[in-house]
């Protein structure tokens, strides 16, 4: 290319201006507004980790969501319109999440049904908010999402507060006296630990022996465990993920700890048992929302999922499934995809059946009932111990 | 004649090894003094002590009555001392001109804001800096490409650039560490001329050199080192006849 600079810049400018005619540019004008959309599909957007440290979670959620979309479409869709699911990767990272959210907005999403990592979900709130898109967040549940009191944000996973309440209830029921809380210093895990501590601090029942933070992704937690055991607790509650949870359970037992161990919902995975080893994992409790495994009457659903995707559903599959169904319900009630109307419809919902039970949102747009229950590792399998009802 | 640099009772040891053992000499303004001696006699170590690259174990180094001991090399340079290195130390990937501009670092008056805003002062100082760089390259008689990378120049030319860089510092004292090493006969003659012209600018020169012809030709005084000790200090013709010097050189020759 031997053009002079001036001509090449001029031609670039010309190309650019021509391209604006295509409609996406600044001079392209709006895209016709909602009126033209009556026969187009209703687009649901799902932001989930498809790469990065939490990449394994993504398919569980998007598959289940797709399952719900297909089921609803098979019954004729909503308001005569089909549902369509679009996913974007947030890589569990704020910047990727912002780009992904903007991508979904650009693709004309009507309702957002994604959000797994709290840290990555936070920056997407204003992006969807500005575009007047309601968000039904299936998994992310940190308190910061609630604290902003945003009108367009609804959480259908149990919150840290609710999980802490379930944990405290079970500890008291087990007659725990002195509880050690361990977290991995991520927002999700620390939040549950601090909220549990607040509940335990109330007079009566068990007391908090200490809160111990560990560095995630390490192998040796003996130093932390020495700290914990120095306080002689009779109950240890780990609120982080299964990778460390398995190691901690194992190393606690190796260090001679005889009391109870309980883990949070992030640790509920067969890998926990594998990492800890069957002996150390035996009898470990877990606080967990209802899963297909523990839900009576969900067998058919699991079958459908397996038939379609060839794998078992996993963490947050059921919440993602419910998020899509809830979105369809709200759009149907609102009579269209107008953001404000859908939000009003969501707020008005009462008794919609979900895995976690009949739905009614609190004024903060969280579940009135978290649906947490207690699981236990029995013969190497995670089974229901107590539904706490 | 006023004394410019005086070194007295300089000692330097590395671990147990005594590299310089009580060196005393002085250099007057605009004087050419050579430091000679067999390999490993401590000549370059003495240079490094004067220019702040080594910390002497004991002794005094005074430049116009100011002690140089304990100063870092750049502070020594700021007091008017410039040097070349035994093994060429050009900024190889930078242009020849930039190499010489390094000499202007100390006297160039511009600050960060000037550079960011391209103030008239910035333009003026950059202009002056480039002019000076060209001037000193002309002065040393560089024939090669001034805009290309310094490492692409032939060896002899690189030597010239290094001297031009030191001169751009506008020093009062110039330390040349074996400037004739690797030069051919014609280049040595030019070097001789160059040293005289530098001296004519009023710059004192201390020269480490193995080429005795060159040393005898340009030096006003010669200091002879052997095993870190000073064995002679005087006019070239006197030193040449000094039995201790002859012994040192013959002795070292027989061992070599």
């Amino acid at each position: 290319m031997r053009a002079t600079p001036l001509t090449s810049i001029a031609s670039l400018a010309a190309v650019a201006l021509l391209a604006t005619g295509c409609g996406q540019g600044l001079l392209g004008g709006g895209d016709g507004g909602d009126t033209a959309k009556t026969n187009e599909p209703i687009v649901l957007g799902m932001l989930i980790p498809q790469s990065g440290s939490e990449a394994a979670i993504g398919p569980y959620m998007s598959n289940a969501a797709q399952l719900a979309v297909d089921e609803i479409n098979a019954k004729g869709g909503v308001l005569g319109r089909k549902l369509e699911l679009k996913t974007a990767d947030d890589a569990c990272d704020a910047q990727s999440a912002a780009a992904g959210a903007n991508k979904l907005v650009t693709e004309g999403v009507d309702v957002s049904v994604g959000g797994y990592c709290s840290g990555a979900t936070l920056p997407t709130l204003p992006i969807f908010g500005k575009a007047n898109i309601p968000m039904i967040i299936p998994a992310a549940n940190s308190q910061e999402l609630v604290d902003q009191k945003l009108k367009h944000v609804f959480l259908i996973n149990g919150t840290g507060t609710q999980q802490a309440a379930a944990a405290e209830k079970w500890m008291t029921k087990q007659g725990a006296k002195s509880v050690a809380l361990m977290h991995d210093n991520t927002s999700y895990s620390k939040d549950i630990a601090l909220r549990t501590q607040a509940l335990l601090d109330a007079p009566g029942g068990a007391d908090t022996a200490l809160i111990e933070a560990v560095t995630p992704k390490e192998s040796d937690y003996s130093a932390n465990i020495t700290n914990v055991l120095a306080k002689k607790p009779d109950f240890v509650y780990w609120t982080g993920y299964f990778q460390e949870g398995g190691l901690i359970a194992r190393q606690l037992r190796q260090a001679g700890y005889k009391g109870s161990i309980m883990v949070g919902d992030g640790s509920v995975s067969p890998k926990l048992v594998e990492i800890a080893g069957p002996e150390a994992a035996e009898g470990v409790y877990a606080t967990m929302t209802q899963t297909p495994d523990t839900l009576e009457g969900a067998e058919g659903w699991i079958e459908a999922y397996k038939k379609k995707f060839g794998t078992e559903p996993g963490p947050y599959s059921n919440q993602a499934y419910d998020a899509v169904r809830l979105a369809a319900e709200a759009v149907g009630k609102a009579g269209g995809t107008d953001g404000a109307k859908v939000i009003a419809a969501l707020e008005a919902i009462d008794g919609f059946q979900m895995f976690s039970g009949p739905l009614k949102f609190t004024p903060e747009h969280t579940l009135s009932n978290g649906g947490f229950q207690i699981l236990v590792v029995k013969d190497g399998k995670i089974t229901l111990q107590d539904s706490l009802k | 004649m006023t004394t410019l640099l005086s070194v007295s009772d300089l000692r330097l040891s590395f671990g147990g090894l005594l590299a310089i053992d009580g060196l005393t000499f002085s250099v007057n303004e605009a004087e050419v003094v050579s430091v000679i001696g067999p390999n490993g006699a401590g000549k370059t170590s003495a240079f490094n002590c004067v220019t702040g690259f080594y910390r002497p174990t004991a002794g005094q180094i005074m430049l116009r009555g100011r002690s140089l001991r304990g100063l870092r090399p750049s502070a020594v340079a700021a007091l008017g001392v410039a040097r070349t290195f035994q093994n060429l130390r050009l900024f190889g990937e930078l242009s020849v001109l930039d190499n010489v501009r390094a000499g202007a670092h100390l006297w160039l008056r511009q600050n960060v804001l000037d550079a960011l805003l391209h103030t008239p002062r910035y333009r003026r100082s950059e202009r002056e800096c480039t002019e000076q760089a060209h001037h000193w390259l002309d002065f040393v008689g560089l024939r090669g490409d001034r805009y290309g990378e310094a490492r692409h120049l032939p060896y002899g030319e690189q030597r010239r650039v290094e001297i031009a860089r030191a001169l751009a510092r506008r020093p009062d004292l110039l330390l040349l560490d074996e400037p004739a090493a690797g030069l051919n006969h014609g280049e040595k003659t030019e070097l001789l001329d160059l040293i005289r012209r530098i001296q004519a600018l009023g710059v004192a020169i201390v020269l480490i050199e193995h080429d005795m012809g060159l040393v005898m030709e340009v030096s006003e005084r010669v200091v002879v080192l052997n095993f870190g000790k000073e064995i002679a200090d005087g006019r070239p013709e006197d030193v040449r006849r000094d039995p201790a010097v002859i012994e040192a050189y013959l002795g070292s020759d027989t061992h070599a």
């Binding site: 290319m1 031997r2 002079t4 600079p5 001036l6 090449s8 810049i9 670039l12 650019a16 201006l17 391209a19 996406q24 540019g25 498809q50 790469s51 990272d93 704020a94 910047q95 912002a98 780009a99 903007n102 991508k103 693709e107 840290g119 920056p123 709130l125 992006i127 902003q148 210093n185 927002s187 620390k190 939040d191 933070a213 | 220019t51 690259f53 750049s74 290195f85 130390r89 050009l90 900024f91 190889g92 990937e93 930078l94 242009s95 930039d98 670092h105 550079a115 960011l116 391209h118 910035y122 202009r127 480039t130 002019e131 060209h134 001037h135 024939r143 490409d145 001034r146 805009y147 290309g148």
Partner: protein, 377 residues
Amino acid sequence: MTGVPDTTPEGAPEDTVRSTAADTAESTDGSATAGVARAAAPNEATGETANEAPGPARKTAEVRRRGAGRPPTRASRLLQNRWAGLAGLLLALLAPFVDATPYALSVMTSAAIFVMLAAGLNIVVGYCGLLDLGYVAFFAVGAYTSGVLATRLDLPLVATVPVVIVVTVVAGVVIGAPTLRLRSDYLAIVTLGFGEIIRITANNLDVTGGPSGIYGIPGLAGSPVAFYYLTVVVVALAVLGAARLGRSRIGRAWRFVREDEDAAEAMGVHTYRVKLAAYIAGAVWGGLAGVLFAAHLSAISPGSFTFLQSALVLMAVVLGGMGSVPGVVIGAIVISILPEILRDLADYRFFLFGVLLIAVMLLRPQGLWPARSKEVP
């Protein structure tokens, strides 16, 4: 790069060469007299003598005429770099006319911020030759300082900028002062350690919002388009500033240090201070990029400031060409846009980056768009 004018002296109109040579003389190391000498150089053959300089400059011109017979590509090269910059800026300014969807704007804004980071790291690594593996620490310091001040004290984000500058300068000194005396490879690990310390500290403190960070940070402009333009202008100024610093006294000193610390010291360059200056400049650039980042995302958390981020910025600098401003800008754009285009390959991204780092170092250490080694007189 298509679209970057690839001019040759033959191709450029004569009058363009002449007029630009006069008004861009300041943008190179060359001076007005050098410019004149250039005009008088034999191959230029303009026949104009009006610009002939008097006295010594004239003489030097003649000497060079004798010695350095180089083809006069410099005027066109100069054009090329300046025009490349302007063309890049124009491209950035026009891009929203092609695609102004929220997604495109978000990606382009992120890319612009990343360019600023790379320009800052280029000062440290490219100019000064100091390997900084924890550069993201300054990015974090800038983002957190503005975010905390804006949300806790209800300040507009612009008002936090002076504080951010002060804090990042302090951070640069605190991190640089103890470490810059070390050998270069120790420095690499120590900066990595500092990067981790900053991130973990942000994660542990309450004032920084702990692990979930800060949310609800006000923006800097009303609409995404306006913010994009603001970012482009700020980043363009930052890139220009870094380039200008690189061509000044301090910038040359950085290169002297990179090439040979001892020789630089011998010429009176206080290498420690000069390195610290590079560090501080890098810190300020990174910190200001952090402010843009906070405004862009409205929420920041420790997860955005991991070692991976530092490595990505380094990758951009190395890939583009260490020490080369246009190279680094292109490197940064490639590194930040590529994952968006190749979202499906996200899992292989870092593997490819690693292989690419090795390949670049083995096969093309000067990068995609190398720094000029030959000087434009």
